[in-house]
Structure formats: C-alpha cells, structure tokens
Assembly symmetry: C2
Homo-oligomer: 209 residues x 2
C-alpha cells in the first residue's frame, strides 16, 4: 500500500535541517555539506565506502517512491520565482525520477526534465498536495522531501506514515528546525534510534498500528 515517507532527512543535534542564509552559492546556508557527509562516506557514493547502517539507509534513498513533494526553499534560492529559467539545483537530470510537486504561492507551468523527473508547481495545502501526489504515485510511496518546514507541516498534520532522520553530530544554532510544534509526536509513532560509526544517529518514526 502506498505510504507517505520522509527518508534520509539530515538534521543537526539541535534539529535544524538547513542553516542560513540560504543562497545560490550556499543552498544549506552555513551548514554547507556537513549535514550530508555521512551519505558521501557510504559505498553507495564511493568505492570502498562504508557498508553498514548508513549505507542501508542511503541505498533506499529512491526506493519505492512514485512522487515527491518539496517546499519552495528546496527547489531554489530565495527569489527563484522571479527567474523564469530556474529549473532547480540539480541540472538536466534531477535525482528524483518521478513527478515532483513544488509547493509555492507563485505556481508556474510544469517542467519536464530528463530521467523521469517532472516538476509541477502547486499553491496548495499539505492535504491537497498529497492528494495530487498520491494519485501520481499509484501503489508507490510519496516522499516528503523537505525542507524542514515542509516535513514539520506534514508531521503536524498527521500525514506521515514513516520518517527517517539522520542526526549529525553538529550544532547549527540557527536555520530551519524540524521539531517545532510537534509536542507529543511519540504518542503516534514507534521511535527507534540507531547510531552509526560515522557519528550519525538514525531516528526512525513508524506510525503506530
């Protein structure tokens, strides 16, 4: 059955999914690539990389997803809506390979990219966007791709079936924080924590039956 999932969403010890300020040169602000170094150390990314729990999560990065929903800040730097040529950070062949729904108050025409990714732009509530993405995903899962605000909104709305966070051993101090407004989340989810030798702790939330 199709599920709604967050996967490989990296946060700092203090819960930030990105730093600030976000810009064309620094998509994650002062966090740089530090939230994602654990991924680059796995055998999925490089020969001779790690093959333990980090790699298990990394290998499932795109596994079973039929659509993605992302926030405006994930698609581009502040102001991308004013650039009619902006097609995301990821070049001609983005790593999504599915219909990908970008939440924005200034929607534009869909953009078909190489490799199966088509960007669609929606001015919609989390529930409305999910209905559209579910339809597109069919039996496959829908990824809530971030940033932190969007992940938080979907968790707060009770729409997420499974979430995976990678807690990296840094303190960002500022940026976009994922946990705010989610008091009592553990009453709806089984929470598991597994540390990896890379220094990361994988936190998974599985909706209770």
């Amino acid at each position: 059955m199709s599920r709604v999932r967050v996967h490989n969403f990296a946060i700092s010890l203090d819960g930030f999914g990105s730093g600030e300020p976000q810009s064309l040169e620094a998509p994650f602000g002062h966090a740089g690539e530090r939230l994602h170094e654990w991924r680059f150390g796995t055998s999925s990314w490089k020969e001779g990389g790690s093959t333990g729990v980090d790699d298990l999560f990394e290998r499932r990065h795109n596994d079973g997803f039929g659509a993605e929903i992302m926030g405006s800040n994930k698609f581009g730097p502040p102001g991308w809506q004013d650039d009619s040529d902006w097609k995301g950070w990821w070049g001609p062949n983005p790593p999504f390979h599915t219909p990908t729904y970008v939440l924005t108050h200034r929607p534009r025409s869909s953009i078909e990219m190489e490799g199966g990714t088509t960007f669609h732009f929606l001015d919609a509530s989390p529930e409305e966007a999910l209905a559209v993405a579910r339809e597109a995903a069919g039996d496959l899962d829908v990824r809530i791709g971030g940033g932190a605000t969007v992940v938080r909104d979907y968790l707060a709305a009770g729409l997420v079936d499974h979430a995976h966070f990678a807690v990296t051993p840094i303190v960002l101090g500022r940026g976009s924080r994922v946990w705010d407004g989610l008091e009592g989340l553990e009453s709806s989810y089984d929470v598991e924590q597994v540390s990896a030798p890379s220094g990361v702790t994988h936190v998974t939330l599985t909706r209770k039956a």
Copy 2:
C-alpha cells in the same frame, strides 16, 4: 586532574531538559518522569534491570564528583526563595553528597543536610561559581547539574570538559532547551553518539586536546 562535567543529563529529541510549567507537583512540568525512565530501567535502580550502556552511564552518576553547581530552577519550584524552610526536593539526605552550589539572585545561608550534601547559595557568574566549586572539589570533578539553562551557559562559556546527554525518544515541544546559542560546539568537542536498546541515545562531548 579536576574536570568540569555534565553527566546523565536527559533531554528530549527536540533538546528540552524539562517541560513546563514547573511546579511543586511537577518538577519537570509536562515532561513528568519520561526523560528519566531509561535510568529507572537499569540494574542500578532495580533488581533484574538492564546491564548495558544505560547502566554504565547510570553507575557513574556520582562517580568522581567533589562538588555540584545547579540552577535555581533545579533546587525548587518557582517561588522557593519566598519559603525560608525550603531545602530542595530531595528530603533530608539528598543524592549529591558533596558541597552543592545553587545559583540564585537571592542567596541565603548555607544548609547542611545528611549524607555530605551542603547547599550553598551564590549570586555569581558561571566563572565565579566555578572557581568556588573547584576549590571545594579539590582533585575531584565539578558537576554542572542543570537545568538546561545552566548547562547551556557553562557550555557557551567554554567551561565544560566533558558532557553526557541522554536523548530520549520523545518530543516535548516546549520547556527549557539545552542547545540554543551553541552554534559550532562541535569545533571544540569530539562528539560520540551511542544508541541503547531502551530507545535512548547517549551523546558525549569530550573537549578536544
């Protein structure tokens, strides 16, 4: 050599060391005892309890400490300064067994308790209080006992040599948060994360040489 340490300081996934509101009936506010359940499950606390990593941390709870510094909110509920008979939450024989310095803007006379605990009251900066506590501790360590605000202040001032946090699998949403204002803490500390079957992740920060 005497070190300054935080040990067994429990926080939620979102970094809160206690809930709110704190009161005589609810010292940890809406967190209740949930931040500390992992401790009660160890063989240090009950026969047949766990003997793994949780218990290793728990057994060192008082190990090697010659003095403690705590914040006003750890010593009593809001307004305890107006009660001249208040002697802390812990009954006649508190679990500190050392000189214990309570930071407060309304100091009072010292209180000698059973079992080696004497409460002293200081209206002092973190540095000033530490100088007094170090003198009392001699070759033993000084514990920064909390709450979250005091732990944060000592970390921010660069005064902590070693810190241990137990990250419990709950989202408190509100209360007193330990990580605020500590951007870049990882540049001064080696950070290790170890998960336990209880659901807790032990995060240790060891000051870099």
